[in-house]
């Protein structure tokens, strides 16, 4: 009854308890899973930030009216990202299994989940960054150019600098989406809170675990949202200094 092992990468047969997991054993079950979720989302977010940010800036500036117009590059890049964005995550994950296995050597577990999550996340975040940069008034870029800035300087200080609140707002949405994706990835045995929810709550009708995972996810998402809002507030002088 208590011989429950849900560490990462577990696939295949597990002992199936008939009754719900007792409340006292929930921490032992959920905490490691929660740690896995945090790890998964953390790795994915790091990859996404490092690759998605420059990609978003590139996409924005390769567009007509950007700092270095490259219509062909923009079209190709935009198309790839749109394809990535249009696939439901479950389909994307399944369709790139060979690629995932090529990269990680496995198609199960955290490492395997991180690959499709990163790809979907990069596509997502690239659009977020592009959108955030688009909201920066063109006059700001004109000022930066007239001030003698190089393209790199302009992108960094004028475009991205002005867009930081919007990017962070988007980042908040992104983290929440990635938590959701990690749950979907749980279905391929990626581990994490989503995996527990699926194997216990869904497959074994364990309402206690189901309820606990729901509460944890709701609390986590709420926390991420509040933290994100705070962060946006902090990087927006007008909001930071005009406290009611």
């Amino acid at each position: 009854m208590s011989a429950v092992n849900v560490s990462s990468g577990v696939g295949g047969l597990i002992y199936v308890p008939r009754a719900d997991v007792p409340v006292a054993e929930l921490p032992a079950l959920l905490l490691p899973a929660y740690g896995e979720t945090v790890l998964m989302v953390g790795i994915v977010m790091a990859v996404v930030l490092v690759i998605g940010t420059p990609l978003g800036v590139l996409l924005h500036n390769a567009a007509p009216g950007g700092l270095f117009e490259r219509p062909a590059l923009h079209a190709v890049l935009g198309w790839i990202i749109s394809v990535g964005r249009s696939l439901p995550f479950l389909i994307l994950m399944a369709s790139i299994v060979p690629f995932t296995r090529f990269i990680t050597g496995t198609n199960i577990g955290i490492a395997a989940a991180v690959v499709p999550m990163s790809l979907a996340g990069i596509a997502f975040f690239t659009r977020i960054v592009e959108n955030a940069l688009r909201s920066v008034p063109p006059s700001i870029v004109r000022v930066a150019r007239a001030s003698g800035g190089s393209n790199l300087q302009i992108m960094r200080s004028a475009q991205f600098g002005e867009a930081v609140p919007a990017v962070l707002g988007g980042l908040t949405i992104q983290v929440i989406a990635m938590i959701e994706y990690s749950a979907i990835a749980g279905t391929i045995g990626a581990g994490g809170i989503g995996y527990v929810a699926v194997t216990y709550g869904y497959q074994r009708f364990d309402n206690t675990v189901m309820l606990a995972t729901i509460l944890i996810l709701v609390a986590t998402v709420a926390f991420v949202q509040v933290a994100g809002d705070r962060l946006v507030r902090w990087v927006t002088p007008q909001k930071r200094l005009q406290r009611a």
């Binding site: 006059s139 000022v143 930066a144 150019r145 003698g148 190089s150 200080s157 600098g161 927006t236 002088p237």
Partner: protein, 352 residues
């Protein structure tokens, strides 16, 4: 000093192309403030962007202090831009940087050391009278203060040319005046050549030494401000004059529209005209101001004299040009109006 030689800017290619600037030529001397006016869509902002090299001219050149900047390769363009400071409409400050940090922007781009940046920014902030606001963010600044930050930023790299595109548009009249005064002061102190682009005629009268009017990409008229204002034959001169409403003339009196047409109209001209004609002269409306020490403006008078020829003659005696308003009305509808001396007649607005 800056000169434009046959500057042309065409957008698009082939059949769809539009020539926004059409062979412009003008020269602005060191320490001169040159205003460019014109209706919306005339090409003023395009001109500004060609001057500060944000846009490449299609043909022709922009010559600054003897060097043709428009033909420079892309890499050297950035360095060349630093010789021209630009003040933009509504300042366009980076919202997440303080006033000081905004002013520091061009210095950072140039790679100046933090210590030097601090010293220079402090200097500039004092120069534009914003000391107490150094650490304020743009949202904490009034329009005029933000514009001062924009001016300080434009001056950060010690340019010899200052370019302002609608720098005072959207500011209230008092703030506009204070910004104009600052620019004039800076021009004198730093020997700046200023190209001041605006559609606001009141601002042009306050600031300009010379004026050009741009219409559909061409300069249709240009000249020294005072000359234009005291030349009744100049459409630009008339466009520069404010139009005010005026009271109705008494029964039996003719309404005359009178403009200053020379640089030495005596201050007591109304009294003198009245004495010469031996009839009372009623002042019905007027807008008169001193520009570069010279009286300019226009007035609407009620003169109880039947002899229009005589009135016109007396007015010319004092450097004025008059048009009887009755004629203007009878001439409405396109028939040529004959002022007492040759020249077009200004449209009158708000006849009460």
């Amino acid at each position: 000093m800056i000169s434009l030689l046959e500057l042309t800017k065409t957008y698009g290619r082939g059949a769809d192309s539009v020539t926004v600037l059409d062979r412009l030529n003008f020269e602005v001397g060191a320490g001169e403030i040159f205003a460019v006016t014109g209706p919306s869509g005339a090409g003023k902002s395009t001109l500004a962007q060609c001057i500060n090299l944000l846009e490449r001219p299609t043909s022709g050149s922009v010559v600054v202090n003897g060097e043709d900047l428009s033909s420079l390769p892309e890499k050297r363009l950035r360095a060349a831009r630093r010789r021209i400071g630009t003040v933009f409409q509504s300042a366009s400050l980076l919202s997440r940087r303080t006033a000081s940090e905004n002013i520091a922007l061009p210095l950072e781009y140039l790679g100046v050391t933090p210590g030097e940046i601090q010293a220079r920014v402090g200097e500039l902030i004092d120069r534009v009278g914003l000391g107490p606001k150094a650490h304020s963010y743009p949202f904490q600044l009034s329009g005029g203060q933000a514009q001062r930050v924009g001016i300080a930023r434009a001056l950060a790299l010690r340019p010899s040319i200052l370019l302002a595109d609608e720098a005072t548009s959207g500011l209230d009249p008092d703030t506009t005046s204070s910004v104009v005064e600052l620019l004039k002061q800076l021009r004198t102190d730093l020997d700046l050549t200023v190209v001041f682009i605006t559609h606001e005629m009141d601002t042009v009268r306050q600031i300009a030494d010379s004026v050009a009017r741009l219409e559909r990409g061409r300069i249709v008229e240009t000249g020294a401000l005072v000359d234009l204002l005291t030349d009744h034959g100049s459409p630009l001169g008339r466009a520069l004059q404010p139009r005010r409403g005026f009271a109705a003339a008494d029964d039996g009196a003719t309404t005359w529209y009178v403009t200053y047409d020379s640089a030495d109209v005596p201050g007591d001209w109304i009294q003198r005209v009245s004495a010469d004609l031996a009839v009372p002269v009623h002042l019905l409306g007027a807008s008169v101001e001193t520009v570069h020490g010279i009286n300019t403006g226009s007035a609407t008078l009620g003169i109880a004299s039947e002899d229009e020829g005589l009135v016109g003659h007396v007015l010319t005696r004092y450097g004025l040009i008059g048009t009887p308003d009755g004629r203007r009305e009878s001439g409405a509808g396109g028939a040529p109006i004959s002022p007492v001396r040759s020249g077009a007649v200004p449209a009158l607005e708000g006849a009460a």
